[in-house]
């Protein structure tokens, strides 16, 4: 039996790096320190065994060789006038580089799962920047922590323990007792249940409430009505006082802001609130990124193309405009004529309209697991699992990159090998 320590968890944006894994005969037998979700991901379960293909989406798949599947995938992409290459969150930065190169090669739109997650946060960063910090700053210093529209108990189970609530640090030896925890949400989540203060807002009202807080902070409380978005002015004034009294405050926000009415403008507003709080004390804001390497795609895409996501290579040079070039934009407009879905599950996580269009066009799936995307795919190429069977780089929610270890030997080829071969085939087909 081999015991691997300091392993990284390949589930969420916390990227816990203190996991211990026991391996026997190339099988993971035990996972320690991980949360329930992380342990499930690392332990794994049944996989797609071999590549599969079908021409009729209503028909059954037929097992094929990797070469056949790769050839078919290359042909689909090479023949397409508006290919979409989507996913990437469960794969490493090294995979993203190969993907971006292939997207350039075939003139595709490349987009990642941020588009249904924190894509709006990136749009907000374009407007206001992002005053943030690494999670260790929060652990060592924060005495006021706000979770706004985020529910770490469910989505980031060890966040509170490792970084934000219970964690002890240099300037906070008491951990939980040294912190005031505020939760702002539309329903009393388990996270809200653990807070010192829970502020329940009317769904979709976040934008109004943040503006009211900013007005109060700016000394303009007089213009704020008695109640905003279901919160009394008194509560808002008290909240501003609490935030101002912090020595180091941190806001962690989630889908409650990115997906509600006003979309990215909610975050734009929250970033401004954070910036303005810095006139009084130290405040930072951090998106609770979902998949472990959804942040990494944004980083790689930014240094390779200048833009963090939703890049359209149709004309050989990067063009970027979510609302026009994001995955659901082109799917719901029925523009896309072929798609490659890799390390992400559009079939499960896109609105029915988008999945309906995927069901109409040729779809290549590259993934270890059978999921709703498989159901609408024509070519399915199983791969090794990044972070369990492959080593490589990912970015934590705060932009810290770490290298994942290989825990067991893979039985399938890696995403990189598949993408390199598809690229090679595409070049042959196009006569380059």
């Amino acid at each position: 039996m081999t015991v691997i320590t300091d392993a990284l968890c390949p589930f969420c944006g916390c990227m816990c790096d203190d996991i211990t894994v026991a391996v026997e005969n190339n099988k993971i037998t035990e996972v320690k320190h991980a949360c329930k979700i992380g342990a499930a991901k690392i332990m794994g379960h049944h996989r797609i065994k071999a590549p599969m293909m079908r021409t009729d989406k209503k028909g059954d798949f037929k097992e094929v060789s990797y070469d056949e599947a790769i050839e078919a995938a290359a042909k689909i992409l090479a023949d397409s006038k508006r290919p979409l290459m989507y996913g990437w969150a469960s794969a490493f930065c090294e995979v993203h580089k190969k993907g971006i190169f292939l997207a350039e090669e075939v003139g595709a739109i490349i987009d990642n799962t941020a588009t249904v997650c924190h894509g709006p946060s990136t749009l907000a960063v374009h407007e206001k920047g992002l005053p943030s910090a690494t999670l260790g700053q929060v652990k060592n210093r924060a005495d006021v922590v706000v979770f706004w529209g985020s529910n770490p108990v469910h989505a980031h189970p060890r966040h509170m323990g490792r970084y934000s609530v219970f964690a002890k640090g240099f300037f906070n030896e008491k951990g939980r007792k040294g912190r005031k925890v505020i939760v702002v949400d539309v329903r009393k989540t388990e996270t809200a249940g653990m807070a010192d203060e829970y502020i329940q807002v009317e769904q979709g009202s976040d934008y109004l409430i943040i503006s009211a807080l900013r007005a109060i902070l700016a000394g303009q409380a007089a213009v704020v009505p008695d109640s905003v978005g279901g919160v009394t002015k008194e509560q808002l004034v008290k909240l501003v006082d609490t935030l101002k009294a912090a020595k180091f405050g941190a806001i962690f926000f989630g889908m409650g802001l990115t997906q509600s009415m006003s979309r990215y403008k909610n975050i734009d507003n929250a970033i401004s609130l954070t910036t303005e709080l810095n006139s009084f004390t130290k405040f930072v804001i951090t998106p609770m990124r979902g998949h472990y390497n959804v942040t990494g795609f944004g980083q790689v895409c930014a240094w390779e193309t200048g833009y963090a996501t939703a890049v359209d290579f149709a004309r050989g040079a990067p063009y970027y405009n979510p609302g026009e070039t994001a995955a659901n934009d082109v799917l719901t407009r029925k523009e896309t004529d072929a798609a490659m879905i890799i390390a992400g599950d559009a079939g499960a996580h896109f609105p029915a309209d988008s999945v309906r269009h995927l069901a109409r066009i040729p779809v290549v799936q590259i993934d270890p697991y059978w999921n709703p995307t498989t159901e609408v795919a024509n070519v399915v190429i199983p791969v090794a699992i990044c972070g369990v069977e492959v080593e490589g780089t990912a970015y934590r929610m705060d932009g810290v990159s770490l290298r994942y270890r290989k825990l067991v030997e893979p039985e399938h080829p890696t995403d990189i090998e598949i993408l390199e071969k598809i690229t090679e085939r595409v070049r042959k087909i196009r006569g380059d």
Partner: protein
Amino acid sequence: MTLKVNLITGRTINQGVTIENKTSSDYQEATACCELNSKEAGLLGKPGSNIKVKTKHGEVVVKLKENNGNPDGLAFIPMGPWANAVVDPDTKGCGMPGFKGIPAQIDATSEKVLLMKELIARYK
């Protein structure tokens, strides 16, 4: 009776635990459900009974579940294919579909909850 609600979707821990195992009954159990507070759930049936959620964008049958964190008029379906059968596809000019804040109607139903494969088959 028909319950009019504001529908939101989002993560849950069991949705996370089963996310890489979407052909399983565990995944269906974790995501093909709709949470209401017990007062409103009581208007539709017992926890575990089938309900049909209808929006402008589609309809889906899921299991009724209680969550007393929800205020009146707020329904929650964990993210996944069942939720996505009824969410708003409009990306509002910024790439993000409407996963939260969708006006919906909920009724008790005797129709069955579709399996993941059956649900997606509807789109083909």
